[in-house]
């Protein structure tokens, strides 16, 4: 049996040289000297990453499809019920929108502004899978800045920008434990804070005890903090935890977003 352990080539010297190089690179990074090199590496890697990410997404999507076949009948029934209720809700909303437009016209109000969006491709995720986070192929060259909200179609909030280079950006997802969003349960008009649970789901905390919350109530951003505009969709209430001895209620939030299947995201730049 061969022993493993210190041998030739003076490991201590190699270690000292290596740690010196790493510390030097960190110092250069702190002073921003390494920025252009980092940007160049990311730029060169980006098209390959995009290809790998898209391939992985396609394969995992197919795998998920095959594993979900057994639930298709049940899902189909649920979706059919949901379509019926949404069709009714939609007609009601159309009528309300018309009314709203008429009242706005009468009051001379300007039409609510649309978001100014930048579309970006996802090119990677956290290599350690500890943080729920994604890399995108757009950066400060496309007017992206830190703390800008990131959404997908239909104003579904998925995260916010945490780091920007000229050609890429890092996004922390709302499902990460680090993420905290000021939110509101629309039907109950109850404010609270939505926190991520290590990628396993979302939990809304600090909901006042006097608010009556029901399953499937919609959760949106409350607009209290400047990070997120009001009205971005977060999810629906899945379960409510009410304890008499607690000051606040908690609600488990179900997001309709398949975070693993995302390919393109939109950054609200204005």
């Amino acid at each position: 049996m061969k022993q493993f352990g210190p041998g030739s080539n003076s490991p201590t010297t190699i270690f000292i040289i290596s740690i010196s190089i790493v510390i030097l690179l960190i110092i250069l990074h702190i002073f921003g000297i390494l920025g252009p090199v980092e940007g160049a590496v990311v730029r060169v890697f980006s098209p390959f990453q995009k290809y790998f990410y898209a391939t992985g997404s396609k394969f995992s999507g197919s795998l998920r499809f095959f594993s979900s076949i057994k639930n298709l009948k049940k899902e189909n029934k649920e979706l059919y019920d949901k379509v019926s209720s949404l069709t009714f809700e939609n007609s009601k909303l159309e009528r309300l929108e018309k009314e709203n437009q008429q009242l706005r016209d009468q009051l001379g109000l300007i039409k609510k502004e649309e978001f100014n969006l930048v579309a970006a491709n996802i090119i990677g995720q956290d290599p350690n899978n500890l943080i729920q986070f994604i890399n995108i192929d757009k950066g400060s060259n496309n007017k992206i800045e830190e703390n800008q909200p990131v959404i997908i179609a239909n104003n579904f909030l998925i995260g916010k920008i945490t780091e920007v280079t000229p050609t890429s950006s890092k996004i922390i997802l709302i499902t990460d434990s680090y993420s905290k969003i000021n939110a509101q349960i629309q039907e109950a008009e109850a404010n609270g804070i939505v926190k991520g649970e290590h990628g396993l789901g979302l939990m809304m905390e600090m909901i006042p005890q006097d608010k009556i919350i029901k399953r499937n109530d919609k959760v949106i951003t409350s607009g209290i903090s400047s990070d997120f505009p009001i009205g971005l969709y977060i999810g629906e209430v899945e379960e409510v935890n009410t304890a008499d001895n607690e000051l606040f209620q908690k609600a488990r939030i179900k997001s309709s977003v398949d975070f693993k299947g995302l390919r393109v995201v939109f950054i609200i730049i204005d």
Binding site: Q3, I14, V22, L25, F45, F48, S60, N129, E163, H198
Partner: protein, 177 residues
């Protein structure tokens, strides 16, 4: 030539780690390929290769990670030192049990080193990121230890085969000379 091949494999594995593997997570966890290869070289006794994989791989991974730049490279260096200098005092041979033990212990230490470095970068006001030390984290580290160890066994055997072939050709060259 050997260095060029190593660089190409390293970059290919980084693409896999960052862009492909996250789609195939097992119980919300993926193995750390660069860490595993660095550890495998360590156990095989090639410190230079271990440092190359740990530092070069760590620096590139840092560009795509949510942590402050240098966190993964430093964690890799730390774990290589521990495995190379400290673990031989406790685990003295390269049988399967020892490799499994090294794989599991090293994964736990590596993740705690990461947490420690994240905390340091937060205290130094370099990053606002924080990784809570909760049950979910411990569970994901445990699952990652299992995944890493399985791949470590495969990669270690592969490295040993390469080393055996190298020794065989060197011996043949010496005999011919």
């Amino acid at each position: 030539m050997k260095f060029f091949i190593s660089i190409v494999i390293l970059i290919a594995l980084i693409f896999l780690q960052v862009s492909l593997l996250p789609h195939f997570e097992i119980l919300h966890t993926i193995p750390s390929l660069i860490f595993i290869i660095a550890i495998a070289w360590c156990i095989a006794g090639n410190f230079k290769e271990a440092i190359f994989w740990g530092v070069a791989g760590g620096i590139i991974l840092d560009l795509f990670s949510p942590f402050y730049f240098g966190t993964i490279a430093l964690a890799n260096l730390g774990i290589i030192m521990i495995v190379y200098f400290i673990m031989p005092n406790f685990i003295n041979n390269d049988d399967k049990f020892s490799i499994v033990a090294v794989g599991v212990i090293a994964t736990f230490i590596y993740n705690f080193l990461l947490i420690f470095l994240i905390l340091i970068s937060r205290l130094a006001r370099l990053s606002a990121m924080i990784q809570p030390l909760n049950f979910q984290f411990i569970l994901s580290v445990f699952i990652q230890a299992v995944l890493n160890t399985i791949i470590l066994l495969l990669i270690y055997n592969f490295i040993k085969s390469i080393q055996s072939i190298k020794v065989y050709y060197e011996q043949r060259r010496q005999i011919k000379a």
